[in-house]
Amino acid sequence: MTRGKRIRLGVGMLLTAALSGGALASAASAQETGSTGADDDKVTFVVGQVNDAITFNPMFAIETPEYNTMDMAYDTFMSWDLRLETSAGLAESWEQSEDGLTWTFQVKDGVTWSDGTPFTAHDVAATYNWILDEKVGTLSDYLPFTDEVTAPDDTTLVWTFTQPTGAPLYPPYIYILPEHVLSTYEDKAEFRTWKGFPDTVGTGPFRLVEWQRGDFWRMEANPDYWGGAPQIDELVFRTFQSDESMIQALQQGEIDYAYSIESPDLFASLQGDPDIITHEAGNDYFVQMSMNQCTDQVAYCRDTGFNYHPALRDPQVRLAIEYAIDRQTLVDDVKRGFAEPGSTIINQPRWTYEIPNVVPYDPAEANRILDEAGYADTDGDGVREMPGGGEPLEFRFIVRTENPSTVEAGQFITEWLANVGIATQPEAVNDAKLTDIWYSNDYDMYIWGWGIEPDPNFQLSVFQENQCGVWSDTCYSNPEYDQLFKDQQAAATVEEREQIVDEMQQVFYDDRPEIVLWLNNSLAAYRNEWTGFQEQVAEGEPGGELLFQYGKHSILTIQPASGSGAGSSGEGGGGISAIVWIAIAAVVLIGGGVLVARSRRRSQEDDV
């Protein structure tokens, strides 16, 4: 009998001890949280985002949060100003030789790496040469026609080309890395295993100091930054699993800035919140509907094979499809107005071209075109057949599960196409699966998108014939377009280049391998305790990016609005939970005590 009692007593004591210990701990921490807030006046700016980072290695990073972080840790050689025009980065001045083949740069003096080593032109040469030698896929296209990059002395960089080009002014989106670190990798392949942390050595305004993988990472300000010291002490990036939890954290003050909100509904819900300022930046990415254009003339298509509906080869069918689509409804109903109807593939205000013959929404015209081209519904099932009867116009249509807007858009388009006698079988797949389908050229139509860079060179390069199987959406091939692409790269003046870029947009629009549906706006929101944001807006653009910009602007000037408690939000929503913990501990303690006492009394009764 006594054995049973002692055990019960033992458990009771253990429970009591554990809980009172917890209560004490909570009380202690409650005090502690209070004091950290008081004597720690570090200003921390917390950014929330839905994507996580995998690597901060500048040669291998892919994801947006990784780029946003590396933008703070490193500098590019040339940069962009608040109007998105090319400006100086680590370069001080530059000139092009008479024959256009040689560019000579003077680099900035007095810049130091975060480990104290002085920055020189040799670092730039080492970085560019590494990318060229190793053929780093994502970056080597920024260095076209390059013959040689050398540094004759510490402040001069000489870059020679095999043909005249304005490429250095596009400018290359390549972070300059320290030669004294790169040279320690005898086996260059080994560099891949470095995740960009720890031992991050950069010239940027912030330094990566802590990385809690899957949770957050922290950057510390570099007060000696050559472009001016940041106004904040710390920059923290926090990862969320969904827009919803990110928005809640913003409303609770756990984060200061919600970056890239994908859901237009959630964004709209923030607009009435007095503590939150919402910001809509124009032209983040464009969304297009691509139609398979593989032919035996294109090498990749020939080697890999292809399979799609023959009607999509007919320009009249593609034209009719465009007439059948109501872009304004997609913008209003799918994107809730946070987008613009699209038309051309180049959407930077500086380089975009007003297509004079944009096809309006006109289902009657679509029907007329298809009737005239001989696509009649001969069997009366509501779906047209190929001219002369035969195969019905039934297209496989793929949308992205990762992007709900494309799924919604797919439903609208399916309905509109049904109105003109075209049947589609929409299918939602994940991006990995879509990539597989796209590589095997086995589709009729799909919806995907492209991010918008300041310079049009990359976007234009995508639609060359030789990009089939690499970047090309549809394996579009037009020798005229390919020639124009080379011409714009070699153009002597900006005016000349502009003219060619306009022409390319017109050629591509008229060939219509894909239909640009809408230009997506980037949606962000921040707490109103913060001020000092500078919008990066190109001439003629309605609104621009507020925080993660090309070049360093807002990130150096953001600061707490005077008199606000901003910056202490890093302490998290834990203020009240210490009290809650004490309350819980107390309840359990009392409850547990009563239970133990009762059962002791009872077991004594039992033993009687």
Partner: protein, 328 residues
């Protein structure tokens, strides 16, 4: 003699189960589900990669080999515990990624299983003993509601109420961003604050089943003849309950506790995603999205082993508690 045969038989059964599940996992990840790690790494925007480079990646990962060769390598690697490198984490050893995420989940699943078991059993006994009482009726309804509610849904409700409306607990994450500056006690409280809601969710979600099994098994036992006999002998009621009824009624519940471990891990996947709580659950979610075969294989090897070991544990405990099982 009987005991040794019993243990041996159970071990052989466990091994066969393990092999069968490992074979199934291979086909589940590599053959039956769409996409592959290379497609994920080279998907759409951001990864400019030529067909040659893509081919090189496919060869590097050994995905150009026939399914049979891949299967053989998979089985060899699994049994020699050569877990390989994660594709999503760009070549980081699977073991490192796994260990980094192990503790948060062990803590979460361990404590919640403990709590839901204790509460479930206690309430089940009370309810069964006083069948038809107010406590029995309310706890029965409560348990059924909790039992039938999906974990992620419950988690979202708790998140909305305690974090968004009341602001008592952080919206998500495993630690605060200033956790590294906190002292020992402060750090523990910070971890507890972040773990509280996921823990509450998992505990509530699983308390129902323990309660229901404990209650019905106690009711069964209370109908047995030896209980009537004990009462007839004049044994005090409390003693009938504690010494005669509960001890026997515990048997099915013990098995259930061990068996439910697998479900709790499954529940942890969705709950960790809801609370952005970085642990094995969230890692599994990431690995599935990224088609990271190697990480998935490592994770499912662990989950499979864990469930099998706990099943064995249940079998042996059961046999220890009830000698009749050994003889059967």
């Amino acid at each position: 003699m009987g005991t040794r045969r019993y243990v041996l038989r159970k071990l052989v059964q466990a091994f066969i189960t393990l092999v069968a599940i490992l074979i199934f996992n291979f086909f589940l990840f590599r053959v039956w589900s769409p996409g592959d790690p290379v497609s994920f790494l080279t998907r759409g925007q951001g990864a400019n990669i030529s067909p040659q480079e893509r081919q090189a990646l496919i060869e590097e990962y050994g995905l150009d080999e026939s399914t049979w060769v891949q299967f053989r390598e998979y089985m060899e690697d699994t049994f020699t515990l050569k877990l390989g490198a994660s594709s999503f984490y760009q070549g980081e050893p699977v073991m490192d990624v796994f260990l980094r995420n192990l503790w948060p989940t062990l803590l979460l699943v361990g404590i919640s299983t403990l709590l839901s078991t204790i509460i479930g059993i206690w309430a089940g006994i009370r309810s069964g003993w006083r069948r038809g009482s107010a406590f029995d009726r309310t706890s029965m309804i409560g348990s059924l509601v909790l039992y039938s509610m999906p974990e992620f849904w419950l988690g979202m409700l708790l998140l909305l109420f305690f974090s968004s409306t009341l602001g008592w607990f952080p919206v998500g994450g495993r630690i605060s961003i200033n956790a590294s500056e906190l002292s020992g006690v402060g750090y523990v409280v910070d971890v507890a604050n972040h773990m509280f809601l996921p823990l509450l969710t998992l505990t509530l979600a699983y308390v129902g089943q323990f309660y229901l099994v404990m209650r019905s098994s106690l009711l069964d036992v209370l109908g047995e003849d030896y209980i009537t006999t004990a009462r007839a002998k004049g044994v005090p009621e409390r003693r009938v309950l504690n010494h005669h009824a509960v001890r026997n009624a515990l048997l099915p519940t013990v098995t259930l506790v061990a068996l439910s471990f697998g479900y709790v891990i499954g529940g942890a996947i969705t709950v960790e995603v809801v609370f952005s709580y970085q642990g094995l659950g969230l890692l599994t979610y990431t690995a599935i999205i990224a088609k990271d075969y190697w990480l998935l294989q490592g994770l499912f090897l662990f989950f499979t082993l864990a469930v099998i070991v706990f099943n064995l544990f249940a079998d042996f405990t059961y046999a220890y508690l009830d000698p009749r099982v050994r003889e059967a």
